[in-house]
Symmetry: C2
Subunit: 650 residues, 2 copies
C-alpha cells in the first residue's frame, strides 16, 4: 500500500472513489424510500487532473475534496467548463430546476429534458438530500439572470447526478433563507440551524476575527500562545466554580473561572507576553446571556503600565476589525468610574446616547419639604438627578410609567422616582407633592424644560438614584427607537472606564469585597488609605466598553507579596489558600498587567446578533441544558462508585 508518487496517488483516489460508489450502492440498497441513484456509468474526474484546468487561485480550494468548485464560485467566466459540485438540494421545481447549496452559496442546476432517468431520480429525493453532480456551465437565459446572486448569471446543465446521502422527508423546519424556526427548536436541531446563511456567516466572522487577533499578537507583538489548565484548585473570593470529582475519595478539581493565576505565574516565569483564547467556566445558572462555559481572549504582559495595555488592546481591535463595520478610531476615550456613574448611571455607558443624567442635588438639597414628606435624609450620600428627553413625552404611555415605577421600587428601593410629562401648565404638580415650589422652579430653569419634554427625576441615596436613571435612560431610548425615533449615534462608541474603587461594600464579616478580583494593584496615589480607609482606594483596573456592552476588563496586578498579603487580609481571604501565588511573588515577580476580552459578547456585537447564542456553535439554554443531547443527565452507578459520591437518590 505504499504510495510512491503523484500518478499512483490519482489511481489511489480512483480506487477509493470506486469503493465509495460501492458503499453508496450498499447504503442505498438499505434505504427503503424508493430512491434510485443514477444508473449512468459514473465518470469520475480525478481531483488533481481536474484542478489543472482551473485558474491558479482555486486550485488550493479543491485539492482535498472531490468537487472542482464550491456552490458560490461559478460565474460567466466559467461558461463551457465541465464542473463537479457537491451540496444540499435546497429546492427543486418540476424535477428539472434544482437549487444546490453549500457553505459558499447556491448554484442553479438544470436537467436536460431528454434525461428522463435523472428526472425520475430527482422525483424521489427529499429536500436537503446531499447530492453530487457533474455538468457543464451555461449562461442563464437573459430573463432568468439573478443579479443579486453571485452565481446568478450561470446554470449547470447536469450530466450526472448521484445521491450521496438521502435526507428524510420531514425535517423539523425547512432550510430556506428567511424562514426561521423558534429558538427552542433551533437549539434541538442545531445541526440544521447551522445551515442558515446567518449562522454560517456568524461562525465564519468569529473564526476570522480570532485569527486576526492571533496574527497581531504573535506575528507583530511577539506574544506566546500558552494553554493553561482548566482542572485546578478553587480560587477564593470569585464566581461559583464547577467542581469535578476524582478517583481520590473526597478530592475535587475546580473548573477555572479564568486563567488569572496561571497568567500571573507565567509572568513570574519570565514569559513576558502571554495570550490565550481560553475556555472559562462559571456556574451562574439562570443568568441571561451567560453560558456555563465561555471564551475569553486572555492577555498578560510584563514591564507595562495601564496605558501600555490600553494601547495594545486598541491596536489589537483595530488590526482585527472588520472593514464592513465602518471606522474604528483610536485612542478610545477614557472616563473615570465616578464620571460614568454621574453621567450615565452605569459603569458601562452607551456613549451613543444623546442624553445623560443631570445632577440637581444642590437644588433639591434646599427643599425642606422632601424630608418631611418622604423621610429621605440629606446625608453625605444623598443625590438628586434628572434625565430629560426633549420633545419626547408623546410616546410615554401609562404602561411605560407603571413598568418604570415597578423597576424603581423593586430594584432601587433607596431612590424615589418621579416621571413627568412637561406640559404648558399644571405639570409642576407632579413635583410639588415632594418638592417646594421654589425648588421646582429652579429645576425647570436648570434643565431648561419646555412643553413636550419628558422628565425623569430621582432623589434618594446616590447609587440607587444614578442607577435607576441609568436604566431608564436606556429603556426609554429603546422605546423611542422602536417607535422610529433615531436617538443613538451610528457606529461603535468605545470607552475605557478607569479609576474603579478597589473594594466595594458588602454585607459580610469584613463588610467589604473586591470590586474585580483580589489581584488588582491599588492606585499608587491611594496606597496610604489601604489601612485606614480602604473603600476610598482606587484600583488600577480598566474596563473596555462599547455601545453599552462590557467587552473586557483588566488591571495592573499586585507584584509585591507583602502588598498582596495585605489585600487578601483586608478581604478576609485565608492566605494559606493562596500560598503558591504569594511565594511566586516573592521569587522575582516582574511588574505586570493584562486584560481579558469576552469574545462571545464581542463577536455577537460585531455580528449584530441579539444573543451570544447566535455566535456559539452549540450553546446551552439559560438553565445550562444542551437541547440536542439532553445534557446534563444522570450518571451510572459505576461512575458514582469510581468517584466516591452519592446523589439524593442513593
Amino acid at each position: 500500500m505504499h504510495r510512491p508518487g503523484k500518478i499512483l496517488l490519482n489511481i489511489c483516489s480512483r480506487r477509493f472513489l470506486k469503493g465509495f460508489q460501492q458503499i453508496l450502492g450498499a447504503k442505498l440498497s438499505m434505504v427503503s424510500s424508493g430512491i434510485s441513484s443514477s444508473s449512468a456509468p459514473f465518470s469520475y474526474v480525478p481531483v488533481n487532473k481536474a484542478s489543472t484546468t482551473l485558474p491558479e487561485a482555486t486550485i488550493k480550494r479543491d485539492k482535498y475534496s472531490h468537487r472542482t468548485h464550491n456552490c458560490g464560485q461559478l460565474t460567466v467566466a466559467n461558461v463551457g467548463e465541465k464542473v463537479e459540485l457537491c451540496g444540499w438540494m435546497e429546492f427543486q421545481r418540476m424535477n428539472k430546476f434544482i437549487t444546490l447549496r453549500d457553505n459558499c452559496g447556491s448554484t442553479q442546476l438544470i436537467v436536460p429534458d431528454e434525461r428522463t432517468d435523472l428526472t425520475k431520480t430527482i422525483e424521489g429525493i427529499s429536500y436537503e438530500t446531499v447530492i453530487r453532480v457533474i455538468g457543464t456551465v451555461n449562461p442563464r437565459p437573459n430573463s432568468q439572470v439573478n443579479k443579486n446572486m453571485a452565481t446568478g448569471e450561470i446554470e449547470i446543465s447536469v450530466e450526472h447526478l448521484e445521491i450521496l446521502n438521502p435526507s428524510k422527508t420531514q425535517l423539523p423546519f425547512p432550510i430556506r433563507q428567511f424562514i426561521k424556526a423558534k429558538e427552542s427548536l433551533r437549539m434541538q436541531y442545531r445541526y440544521l440551524d447551522l445551515r442558515f446563511p446567518e449562522m454560517q456567516r456568524n461562525l465564519r466572522i468569529r473564526s476570522k476575527v480570532l485569527m486576526r487577533m492571533r496574527e497581531f499578537l504573535i506575528n507583530k507583538c511577539n506574544f506566546v500562545d500558552i494553554e493553561t489548565p482548566t482542572l485546578f484548585r478553587r480560587t477564593p473570593g470569585g464566581a461559583q466554580e464547577f467542581i469535578v470529582p476524582t478517583r481520590n475519595p473526597g478530592k475535587f478539581y475546580s473548573l477555572v473561572q479564568s486563567p488569572q493565576q496561571f497568567k500571573q505565574l507565567l509572568m513570574v516565569g519570565g514569559i513576558d507576553r502571554y495570550f490565550q483564547i481560553a475556555r472559562c467556566y462559571r456556574d451562574e445558572a439562570g443568568r441571561m446571556d451567560r453560558q456555563p462555559e465561555f471564551t475569553q481572549l486572555d492577555i498578560e504582559m510584563s514591564f507595562v503600565d495601564r496605558e501600555s495595555i490600553m494601547m495594545l488592546t486598541e491596536d489589537l481591535l483595530v488590526e482585527s476589525w472588520l472593514e464592513e463595520l465602518g471606522e474604528i478610531s483610536t485612542p478610545f476615550e477614557q472616563m473615570r468610574y465616578d464620571d460614568a456613574m454621574e453621567l450615565y448611571g452605569t459603569d458601562k455607558p452607551d456613549a451613543r446616547l444623546p442624553y445623560k443624567l443631570q445632577n440637581v442635588t444642590d437644588i433639591v438639597k434646599t427643599s425642606i419639604a422632601l424630608t418631611t414628606k418622604t423621610g429621605i435624609e440629606y446625608n453625605d450620600n444623598f443625590g438628586a438627578y434628572a434625565v430629560v428627553f426633549p420633545k419626547e413625552s408623546k410616546n410615554f404611555s401609562n404602561s411605560t410609567k407603571a413598568q418604570f415605577d415597578d423597576i424603581s421600587k423593586r430594584e432601587f428601593p433607596q431612590a424615589k422616582l418621579l416621571q413627568v410629562k412637561i406640559t404648558e401648565s399644571s405639570w409642576k404638580s407632579g413635583l410639588t407633592t415632594l418638592l417646594s415650589n421654589d425648588v421646582v422652579d429652579s429645576i425647570e430653569n436648570r434643565l431648561n424644560l419646555h412643553n413636550g419634554d419628558m422628565l425623569f427625576l430621582s432623589v434618594g441615596q446616590k447609587p440607587d438614584v444614578q442607577e435607576v436613571l441609568g436604566k431608564l435612560l436606556i429603556l426609554y431610548t429603546n422605546i423611542l427607537e422602536s417607535k422610529g425615533v433615531t436617538l443613538r449615534a451610528p457606529g461603535f462608541k468605545w470607552l475605557w472606564i478607569v479609576d474603579f474603587p478597589l473594594f466595594s461594600k458588602e454585607d459580610n464579616e469584613n463588610g467589604i469585597r473586591t470590586t474585580h478580583h483580589p489581584f488588582t494593584q491599588p492606585h499608587p496615589e491611594d496606597l496610604h488609605l489601604l489601612a485606614t480607609d480602604p473603600l476610598k482606594v482606587r484600583g488600577l483596573h480598566y474596563d473596555l466598553v462599547s455601545n453599552g456592552w462590557e467587552i473586557g476588563g483588566g488591571s495592573i496586578r499586585i507584584h509585591n507579596s507583602l502588598l498582596q498579603k495585605q489585600v487578601l487580609e483586608i478581604l478576609g481571604i485565608d492566605t494559606c489558600q493562596m500560598s503558591h501565588l504569594l511565594e511566586a511573588l516573592d521569587s522575582g515577580a516582574p511588574p505586570h498587567g493584562g486584560i481579558a476580552l469576552g469574545l462571545d459578547r464581542y463577536i455577537a456585537m460585531l455580528c449584530n446578533a441579539t444573543s451570544i447564542r447566535d455566535v456559539i456553535a452549540f450553546p446551552k439554554s439559560m438553565e445550562g441544558r444542551d437541547a440536542m443531547s439532553g445534557a446534563p443527565i444522570q450518571i451510572s452507578d459505576e461512575d458514582k462508585k469510581l468517584y466516591h459520591i452519592r446523589t439524593p437518590a442513593d
Copy 2:
C-alpha cells in the same frame, strides 16, 4: 481623564511612571531585607520617544513596554546608544558585573567604579531580583568578547539601576543554565522552572507551530475555527470521562473526551471544513505520559476520502515544520496494519530501526518437538518470529536476558521467548531444547546467522509473539544506542498505518469492541462481512506515526444512519443514547472524515523532549495532582449542598 492625542499620551505614561515609582517606594519600605534602591533621580525615557531613535524593526517590540530593548537584542551595531533594559539579575560578581536575563537572552551590565551608590545597592540584591537599568552600550574589551552569546560583543555601562521587585534570598533551586532540579521540585515551583531556556524554547516552539497550523488551515485552505462545548453528555463506549455535578439534583455533565460528535454535527450543518485546537479530557489516572486534560488539533472535512485527509495532513505538517529539524518529505509511506505487526510487532513502528521481525512460522511448524515440549498447538493463530541484531551479542548481559524473560512471561503469556547469543559452536543447544536439529539448521540458514549475532526467537500465539518481539526490538536497540552503537537512521520517519480491523475481540457480552470509535466507516470492500464475520471487517481508519510515536489518527466516518445503527448494535451500544447523532445523519449528512493530532506528544517530539510535561506550561503528575496548588482538594459543605452530592466522609 480623556486622552486627546499622542502628546498627552506621553504625559500620561510619565504620570503613571511616577505613580509606579511611588508604589515601589512603598513596597521597598515594607521589605525588611536591607535592600536600598538607587537614590539617583530617575530620568525616565518615554517609550515612544526612545523608540524613534531605534531601527524600524524594533519599534513594534517596544511600543507597549517600558524598556527600549530586550536582553537578547543588543549588538555592536548599538554601541553608543542609551538603552533601558528590564529583567532578572541572574548572577553578579564583585557587585560590579551583572548578568541580566529576560525571555530573549542575557546582557552583561557593568557598574562604573566611581558609582559606589550602585555598588552598594547591588550588594543587597538577591539573585533573581527584578531590576530596571538605564545605561550606554559599549563594546566589550577584546579579552571578554563571548562569541557564543548573541550579546557577547557588548556590555552596558549602568547609569541608573532600580529594584522593581526583590526576590527572596533562598530559592528552591538556582536558575542558571545547565542546573536542573529534580522533577518533583520543578513541578512544585513551576514558575521558576519556566525561567530555564529549555522551557522558554519549548513553549515558544509550541506557540509558533500551532500558529503555522492555523495559518495553513484558515488562510490557505478555507477552514473555519469553531469552538465546541466541553460540558456535554457522556459518549458511550469510549474512555472514562470526568463528570461534573450541576445544581439540578442527580444530573451531571461529562467533560468531552474529544469533539468527535460535534465535528460530525458541524459537517451535517454544512460547515464543510472545521478545525479546532481542542481541549480534551480523559480520566486515565496513572498512565505514563498522559494528562487528565490534553490538546488535540481536531480536523473534519466534507466530501473527502481517506487520501484527501492524508494529503491535507501531510501538507499541514510540511507548512508548520521547523526548518531546524531537517527535511520532511511527502507523501508519507503507507503501511497496512497487518504489515506493521508482521514487520515491527506494533501498530506504531519506528521506521528508523534497521532490523525487523522475520517470519519463520513455516519452518517452525515442521518441528514436532515443540508441541511435545511446550504444549503449544499449531492452530491457525500459531506464529514463530525472529529478530536478529547482527554482530551485536556482546552487549547482551545476563540482567538484560532476565529483564526480557520477565517482560515476555508477564505481558505476553502466549508466547515463548528464546534469547541466544550466536557463537562459533554450541549456541544451537539454546534452541534444540525446544526445536528439532533440522529446524534449527533451517533457521540458521534463513536468518543467515553468524558468530557474534544476537537472536531473539519467539513462538506461540501470533499476536503475543509479534508484540513481544516488537517490544524487545525497541528495548535492545535502546540498550545498544546507550552503549554508543548507532542503529536508528537520523531524522523523522513518517508512516500512515491503514486497514486496521474495525472491531477487536473483547471479553464482554458481545465479545467485540470498536478498535477506534463507533463512528468509523467500514471499508467498502468488507461491508458484506459486517453481519456475518465482523472481526474481518477493516475500517477506513488511519493512524499517523513518526519514529514510533503515534502522532494522530482519524477516519472516514459513517454518514448513513442505518449503517451507523447497525454498527452501534453490533457493539451492543444502546442506540437511544445516540439518537441525536442518528437523527442528524438522517437529515442530509454529507460524506465526511477527519483526523486528530495529539499536539502535546507532537510538540514534545519536535522539541526532542523526554516527556510531554516539558511542553505543557502547568502539567499534572501521573496521579493527576497539581504540585503547585495541591489540586485536587476537598470541597466545602456549601459546594456539596449546591451540587447535591455526598462524599465518603459525609
